[in-house]
């Protein structure tokens, strides 16, 4: 095993850890915005670290270029959708009402779409 493989092992493991952390956050966090925060972690750090880890294994130049493009895409799309979702779930107090099936997201639009800290990591 050489240096490149060690690099890959470390970064892919870190990426997998952040996916796990994102999952724990998505399932365990109490309110929507925190869950979104956890999702963004998996989105950006998890995928980003896996991609960095895979770079030594990819073919030069197109394999590496595709990986870079994928990472840029992931950051752009992840950030923008997190922003949109944050707008959709934003409530005045930022806490989740004790609603049932689906009503939370529907109580959206009045406050929606303003800049939500914690959403765009």
């Amino acid at each position: 095993m050489d240096l490149a493989d060690g690099f890959t092992a470390i970064f892919v493991s870190l990426g997998a850890f952040f996916f796990f952390a994102g999952w724990v956050g998505l399932v365990r966090f109490p309110d929507s915005l925190s869950r979104l925060h956890a999702l963004s972690k998996a989105d950006n750090l998890g995928l980003g670290l896996v991609i960095i880890g895979l770079m030594p294994q990819a073919s030069w130049p197109f394999g590496v270029l595709k990986l870079v493009a994928l990472w840029l895409l992931g950051v752009l799309i992840g950030g923008a959708t997190a922003q949109m979702l944050a707008g959709a779930i934003h409530l005045d107090d930022g806490r989740e009402p004790p609603g049932g099936n689906g009503d939370f997201a529907r109580r959206t639009s009045e406050a929606g779409r303003n800049n939500e800290p914690g959403a765009a990591h």
């Binding site: 752009l76 799309i77 923008a80 099936n101 689906g102 529907r106 009045e110 406050a111 779409r113 303003n114």
Partner: protein, 331 residues
């Protein structure tokens, strides 16, 4: 670090298969329509991964683009438009349980058939490989689509064009000169506008890449066209552009150019190669590329227009809550 042996792939297959089945069952039984449709988009992504495990990246690409992407836009906008996302009681037929048992029986019967498939399995791989060299395509699936079962593909592209015509006919008569409005949802969020400005150039490259690489690697006109259609939908949803009116000549040309090109070259084959849809030896590759390019364009236009809906005088616009973005920007 010791070398880790290759794990048994069933560690991925079994959870994936269970997740697909569980998600399908949930989205059949759950209450809200919108929840079910969101589940369905996730389902499309999972099935795409399953297709990779079945060794078919071509199908996985199609499933990811159509099932995960375009289907989500089509159905979520439909839920919004129908306004039907309230708890609807399940229709209680008297034979509920009986129907459930019968469906279980159908599934069990089909599963038994799957397990009892003849061995060794019938295979057309050798037949395709024998003739693949003649048409200079490295991707066997593309070879089947464009040459060996070309009639299927031709009819299928005609079906797409017909579907758009039928969809347009659902519009009101007095709206005929108007544009499709199914994606007309009022002011978009700034993040969506940003996404719709940055993503389409990337999507354009990916779509054309899929079409071009489809000759020798997984990809092709359907996959490329679906990605291009998705980019058009993004632009329309962000209101950076509007779907063309159905009377627009270029749009109509775009819908039919694929089947038309296929048909013309196929008819020319009667004279030049001695068979309908046959390719003359000297020009096989250029002709195939010509057909596939036209087909990519037609698939893209037709899929985008199928999601955009029939022409209408007023879209979601009349239901739009005014000023939501403006107040949001100030806050």
């Amino acid at each position: 670090m010791p070398e880790i042996p290759l794990p048994d792939p069933r560690w991925a297959d079994l959870p994936l298969a269970f997740a697909v089945l569980g998600l399908a069952l949930w989205l059949t039984l759950t209450r809200g329509d919108r929840a079910a449709v969101i589940g369905f988009t996730g389902y499309g992504l999972l099935v795409a991964v399953a297709w990779v495990r079945l060794g078919s990246v071509d199908v996985a690409l199609t499933e990811a683009a159509l099932g995960g992407g375009l289907m989500g836009v089509l159905l979520l906008t439909a839920v919004a438009r129908l306004g039907s996302d309230i708890d609807q009681p399940r229709p209680s037929l008297p034979g509920d349980l009986l129907i459930g048992l019968l469906c279980l029986g159908v599934a069990a019967g089909l599963a038994a058939v799957v397990l009892g498939l003849p061995s060794p399995a019938p295979s057309l791989v050798a037949a395709v490989e024998d003739h693949q060299a003649a048409i200079e395509l490295g991707n066997p699936v593309a070879a089947v689509l464009i040459a060996f079962r070309a009639v299927d593909t031709l009819l299928e592209s005609v079906v797409l064009a017909l579907a758009v015509i039928v969809l347009w006919s659902f519009g009101a008569d007095r709206a005929w000169e108007a544009r499709p409005r199914a994606l007309d949802f009022g002011e978009p969020s700034p993040a969506l506008v940003l996404l719709a400005r940055l993503l389409p150039p990337v999507g354009l490259i990916v779509g054309v890449h899929l079409f071009w690489t489809g000759a020798d690697h997984p990809g092709g006109p359907f996959q490329g066209g679906a990605v291009l259609a998705a980019m058009a939908l993004l632009v329309w949803l962000a209101r950076l552009g509007r779907p063309p009116p159905v009377t627009d000549g270029f749009t109509r040309l775009g819908i039919v150019v694929g089947p038309l090109m296929f048909l013309l070259i196929g008819l020319a084959g009667v004279v030049l190669a001695g068979a309908f849809l046959g390719y003359p030896d000297a020009f096989t590759k250029p002709l195939i590329l010509l057909i596939e390019a036209a087909k990519t364009l037609s698939v893209a236009v037709a899929l985008a227009l199928l999601v955009a809906g029939p022409p209408a005088l007023s879209g979601a616009l009349s239901m739009r809550r005014t000023g939501s973005t403006e107040t949001g920007a100030k806050a």
